[in-house]
């Protein structure tokens, strides 16, 4: 991001290898695999099913290598659309974006249909659908319509809701799918006779393999969204290629295991002589019927399968809608589609027009097309799209291999992309045997895109100077000076924060890093987020007016998806020693101690943290520091001595006797030497009381400021009951500073979660 004026802006890189690998897995392990297994088993038999996944995994890996190489050289968000622009120019990039939009939308339709199919089947098994006055197929369309509309609304609401729902469902689907695979393998080991289900291995001949491979290729779409996270990933040249390759590898293994589990799930007997034929006869519900037999109890089996499908289809539906919206938004931004496509809602900050058109495609395809044709259409669009990306990888390496900086070059070039191109072409052609409608719909969409570009977009496209923009990691230079980062949230409380920051920075002779995080909805690429930064810029300038004359200062606006993650990554990148931020002090959701933003920052920041509540521009003559021997006590005492009025301020270290073996006298003697007040103005006070928090709150009435350390209790104890600092923080009506010393929080489990 270019620096403009006194405040520089940059992108928040807070996604690690783990995050983006999970992102790819969450997108891939969608409903495609569930709906594809039953149909493919009927088409190609047991051997054909398992081989379809293994061979598709190989083709997907070749394509992932192309994506990985291109993403390492062009790590800007945008994926296929951006690669095509660099490799072939605007016309091809329009077609790539146009295909990406449709492919993601149709995949969303597929997930809505799968959700409806499995949910209604489960309700039917329970006998809850007998009252329906119309055929089940209409109910299926109605449920698909409703769930699609629900997730369109979720996407309309914006980033936080999208992120929360997506993360929850991704975890759920991973647990279920891996669980099914593991149970299947255990059953096969315990009862080897079930391996006979693999005979006949390929009952309808090897040519059917090509048909099923093309049909279930949609189950491998999703890893390409990792390329869209290029602007947000830590060390993108290294992590994005790795995440793509890892996610395809993991998903291939999981799919092969799940398809194996499906084949061995049904025991052949008098009622079912050929399990593969029986599963295949259930079509898109075949997987559910088979897995229900794998799990103990028919009801429990159906319930677990339904839950697995609900988790996976909804998470994939959610992700595909925002991915499709983003694709059409990018086309609007570059004026390849009307500018309205890049219009952002003032209220929710999401691209509403792009979302509206996306939702029309999702709903129309889900409601009007048969399931098999929806899946085939999605597959064929992704085959076309990946075909194009493989060509991009070859062209860009040959033409621009000397100019771009690569973080990864694929081995055996150009064999993998050539093999992938040939295989994708063959699979796309063979899909005509599965769905004729798909073969009309997909080329129709591509040709209509070409026509739109020829007659509309070509003359209107915005010329961008930086069509190849390689982002560089920005590292703060190493130095000995103490760095204080002040995270400014909004203009209203900026002044209050800055006035107290002056005291802390002055005492530490610090360099000041002013930071404002600008949360941007998932549907908007971070690079297009400048429209969200006006309010933050105002707050930054106000803060700078006070701090710039007194301290060496730099200021940054960072665009992020999640404020907490963004601040923590900024702290790491800029090697900050102390983070200062404000807290509104309002009641929080039950799962959090101080709030969903403050909690993770306190726990994960690798530096001292000071959180101020209601401190304003006041003189603190009497400062209370409740201590009990925790790791943050000494730092709390030091902060209190800095914030206390230098002329007449007094600090009282306070403890409640009888609740620990803490020796407050020894504690003061140890630390008083490095405080910023004369020793005679630092006192100790001990009281006896049954309730520690109540005693602190009573004592606080006589003070101007309370400074206390955050809890260092382990996660489980925190969940079981509120900690004393948390109780005091919420009930205290006086100005409050919560502090955490570097390394003061031990909650490793919560940190990882």
């Amino acid at each position: 991001m270019a620096d403009k004026g006194p405040v520089s802006s940059e992108l928040s890189r807070d996604l690690s290898l783990f995050h983006i690998t999970m992102m790819g897995l969450g997108m891939m392990i969608g409903a495609g695999v569930f709906i594809g297994i039953g149909i493919s088993l009927g088409e190609a038999g047991p051997g054909g099913l398992v081989l379809s996944f293994a061979l598709n995994g190989l083709i997907a890996l070749f394509t992932a290598m192309s994506f990985a190489e291109l993403s390492s050289a062009i790590p800007r968000a945008g994926g296929a659309y951006n690669f095509a622009r660099v490799g072939f120019g605007r016309g091809t990039s329009f077609v790539a974006g146009w295909m990406e939009w449709f492919a993601s939308s149709v995949a969303g339709s597929l997930y809505a249909v799968v959700f409806a199919t499995y949910t209604l089947h489960f309700l039917g098994e329970l006998g809850l659908l007998g009252w329906l006055p119309f055929p089940l197929v209409y109910a299926k369309r109605g449920v698909a319509f409703a769930v699609a509309c629900f997730f369109v609304y979720i996407n309309y609401r914006g980033a936080s809701e999208t992120g929360k729902v997506g993360a929850l469902f991704t975890i759920g689907q991973m647990v279920f799918v891996v669980g099914i695979a593991v149970v299947g393998i255990i059953v096969a080991v315990a009862e080897p006779s079930r391996l006979a289900n693999f005979q006949p291995f390929m009952p309808r001949g090897w040519t059917r393999l090509l048909v099923t491979m093309g049909f279930i290729y949609v189950a491998f779409e999703g890893f390409e969204v990792i390329a869209q996270a290029g602007d947000e990933t830590i060390d993108p040249k290294r992590n994005i290629p790795k995440a793509m390759i890892y996610s395809v590898f993991i998903v291939t293994m999981v799919y092969v295991a799940v398809s194996f589990a499906t084949v061995v799930a049904v025991k052949s007997g008098s009622d079912i002589t050929e399990p593969w034929r029986w599963i295949g006869s259930h079509g898109d519900r075949g997987f559910g019927m088979a897995v229900a037999k794998l799990l103990p109890g028919t009801f429990l089996g159906h319930l677990l399968v339904t839950l697995a499908v609900i988790f996976s289809s909804t998470s994939a539906l959610n992700a595909t809608i925002y991915s499709a919206t983003r694709a059409s938004y990018a086309l609007g931004r570059d004026r390849m589609l009307p500018a309205a496509f890049s219009a952002i809602s003032r209220k929710t900050k999401t691209p509403v027009v792009a979302l509206a058109f996306t939702s029309i495609i999702v709903v129309m395809v889900a409601v009007f097309l048969p399931t098999k044709d929806v899946a085939s259409s999605a597959s064929i669009m992704f085959l076309f799209l990946f075909f194009l990306v493989n060509l991009c990888a070859i062209k860009i390496r040959l033409n621009m291999g000397d100019e771009l900086e690569y973080g990864f070059v694929m081995p055996l070039f150009p064999l993998p992309p050539l093999l992938a191109v040939a295989a994708q072409l063959a699979l796309a052609v063979w899909l005509v045997h599965m769905s004729f409608i798909a073969w009309i719909l997909a080329p129709l969409w591509v040709f209509s895109g070409m026509a739109i570009y020829r007659f509309y977009s070509r003359s209107r496209t915005v010329a961008t100077a930086d069509e190849i923009h390689v982002l560089e990691e920005e590292r703060a230079p190493a130095g000995d000076e103490y760095r204080v980062m002040v995270a400014v949230a909004n203009p209203r409380n900026a002044l209050e924060l800055v006035l107290n920051a002056q005291k802390l920075c002055g005492a530490k002779q610090a360099r000041v890093e002013l930071l404002h995080m600008v949360p941007v909805p998932d549907q908007v690429p971070l690079r297009d987020a400048e429209r969200f930064m006006l309010e933050g810029k105002e707050a930054m300038v106000e803060a700078m007016l006070y701090l710039a004359p007194r301290f060496p200062l730099s200021s940054t606006l960072r665009y992020c998806r999640n404020v907490a993650r963004g601040i923590v990554s900024a702290v790491r990148e800029k090697r900050v020693n102390m983070l200062l931020m404000g807290w509104h002090g309002r009641p929080r959701a039950r799962a959090f101690r101080l709030g969903s933003t403050v909690d993770p920052i306190i726990e994960r920041s690798p530096c001292n943290v000071v959180v101020l509540k209601g401190c304003g521009n006041r003189k603190f003559r009497r400062v209370l520091v409740p201590v009990a021997g925790g790791p943050n006590g000494a730092f709390a005492l030091e902060v209190a001595s800095i914030l206390a009025d230098p002329e007449e301020g007094q600090v009282v270290a306070f403890t409640v006797a009888g609740h620990s073996k803490f020796d407050i006298g020894g504690f003061l003697a140890e630390h008083v030497g490095r405080l910023h007040l004369p020793p005679d103005r630092v006192q100790a006070k001990v009281v006896s009381a049954p309730q520690v928090a109540q005693a602190i709150l009573r004592e606080a009435e006589d003070y101007d400021l309370i400074v206390m350390g955050c809890t260092a209790e382990p996660l489980l104890r925190q969940l079981a009951r509120s900690s004393v600092p948390e109780t005091v923080a919420h009930r205290c009506t006086k100005p409050l500073a919560m502090v955490k010393a570097e390394g003061g929080i031990r909650s490793w489990v919560k940190r990882w979660v």
Binding site: L58, F249, T252, M410
Partner: protein
Amino acid sequence: MGVPSVDCEVKAMDMDLLVGCIVGFGALSVIAAIVVWCRARIEWVARTGARSAREILKDLRRGG
């Protein structure tokens, strides 16, 4: 005359299974090998610094 035709059918079925296993496990092995190879390359480039594709390939040929 009927016995040999039965043998042929059994062999054909086994052959499908045999070829299928070779293709399936072969594909999975190739995938695993490529993943390891790619990972090593990514780490090597990260260690030695990102640069043009030609320079990376030249260094690799020199024994990097």
